[in-house]
């Protein structure tokens, strides 16, 4: 992996949601764990060529998805 990874950051009311396609394996655990139904499959492909995820407006930047991701592909930052 290159020293720096490029994330796709989305801004929400209370913070940001960043996904790193270079880490995302498309397992969907984050989707299943997000109680706000704020995650969906993305058009961006992850490291195995399978769809990565993207957040939608439901995101409350609670960070549960970050906790659930086995690959550290999500960073949620609160403002």
């Amino acid at each position: 992996m290159s020293a720096e990874l490029t994330g796709v950051t989305q801004e929400f009311e209370k913070g940001t949601f960043t996904l790193f396609p270079g880490l995302c394996k498309g397992c969907g655990l984050c989707i299943a764990k997000c109680r706000s139904k704020a995650l969906e499959w993305a058009n961006v492909l992850g490291v195995y060529g399978t769809p990565a995820v993207i957040a939608n407006e439901n995101c409350i930047t609670c960070g549960v998805c970050q906790l659930a991701c086995p690959d550290c592909a999500i960073t949620v930052e609160r403002k």
Binding site: M1, A3, E4, L5, T6, G7, T9, T16, T18, F20, G22, L23, K25, G26, C27, G28, L29, I31, A32, K33, V47, Y48, T50, Q66, L67, A68, C69, P70, D71, C72, A73, T75, E77
Partner: protein, 264 residues
């Protein structure tokens, strides 16, 4: 610098993405372990031992000294290192097959001898690395490659109660817990306490982690989470099982005399 992944500092970044399958619980356990190492600031003292099993994929996972051992043999390797250099913090990482089947004599005897090592065991209810055979932890009725019609408890017994067993054979000093990747915060806390227990010289510490294996379970994301959260917990109680009693004197040098003639 743009936003970067919130990986534990002790993770080796250049080997990420790691080698585990999508949705594999190993990643979550190793995240918790990485966080515990970070919080305890012991990266320079840890020796990480990984079993053969999917845990072998972690041989270059951390920026800590790491030894890939044999299937089931991580506990003795860690024991040997610890006995030779007690300043090191030895963390053995293994699967349920490695810990409860082929290596169970090592687990039992390391526990009985109260070895000052920390064993972290990933319970994914089957043998992941070899493609999904029955493990001692396989749930009743669960289909695996060697129980194609479902595990029959009459002929192969009930899921192995590892932490309960370790608790039954240890005395003061041991730390025993069962965590789950479904609850990352206690997972990290138990692992951290298990390491602290080693650092304080109390004795053997053991954390079983309920984990996921979507590849061999053949589950999608929702089923995976459901299985670890709902099904596994029917047989496995999550929580701390044995915590060193601060009142009991630890690490006593025995001076008991026993009236056998004894050897010369």
């Amino acid at each position: 610098m743009s936003v970067q992944p919130t990986m534990p500092k002790s993770w080796r970044v250049d080997t990420k993405p790691h080698k585990f399958c999508p949705g594999c619980g190993h990643g979550l356990v190793l995240k918790a372990l990485g966080q515990a190492i970070d919080e305890l600031d012991i990266q320079d003292r840890v020796v990480f031992g990984c079993d053969i099993g999917c845990s072998l994929l972690a041989w270059d996972f951390f920026n800590v000294d790491t030894v890939q051992t044999h299937h089931g043999r991580t506990n003795p390797v860690m024991t040997g290192i610890k006995r030779a250099n007690p300043d090191l913090i030895c963390i053995g990482y293994m699967g349920d097959g490695g810990g409860y089947a082929i290596g169970s004599q090592h687990l039992v005897n390391a526990a009985t001898r109260n070895e000052r090592i920390t064993a972290i065991l990933v319970n994914n209810a089957q043998y992941g690395m070899t493609g999904g055979q029955m493990a001692p932890t396989t749930l009743p009725g669960m289909k695996t490659e060697t129980t194609p019609y479902g595990r029959d408890v009459d002929s192969t017994g009930y899921p192995c109660q590892g932490p309960e067993m370790v608790a039954a054979i240890t005395r003061e000093g041991a730390y025993v817990a069962r965590a789950s990747v479904a609850r990352p915060v206690p997972l990290k806390n138990y692992i951290k306490r298990a390491i602290e227990n080693q650092m304080s010289g109390n004795g053997f510490s053991f954390v079983e982690c309920l984990s996921t294996c979507p590849t061999n379970w053949r589950t999608n994301n929702v089923e995976t989470i459901n299985f670890v959260e709902k099904e596994m917990t029917k047989y496995y109680n999550v929580g701390e099982i044995k915590v060193p009693d601060p009142k009991e004197p630890l690490g006593i040098k025995t001076s008991i005399k026993v009236p056998t003639g004894g050897i010369g």
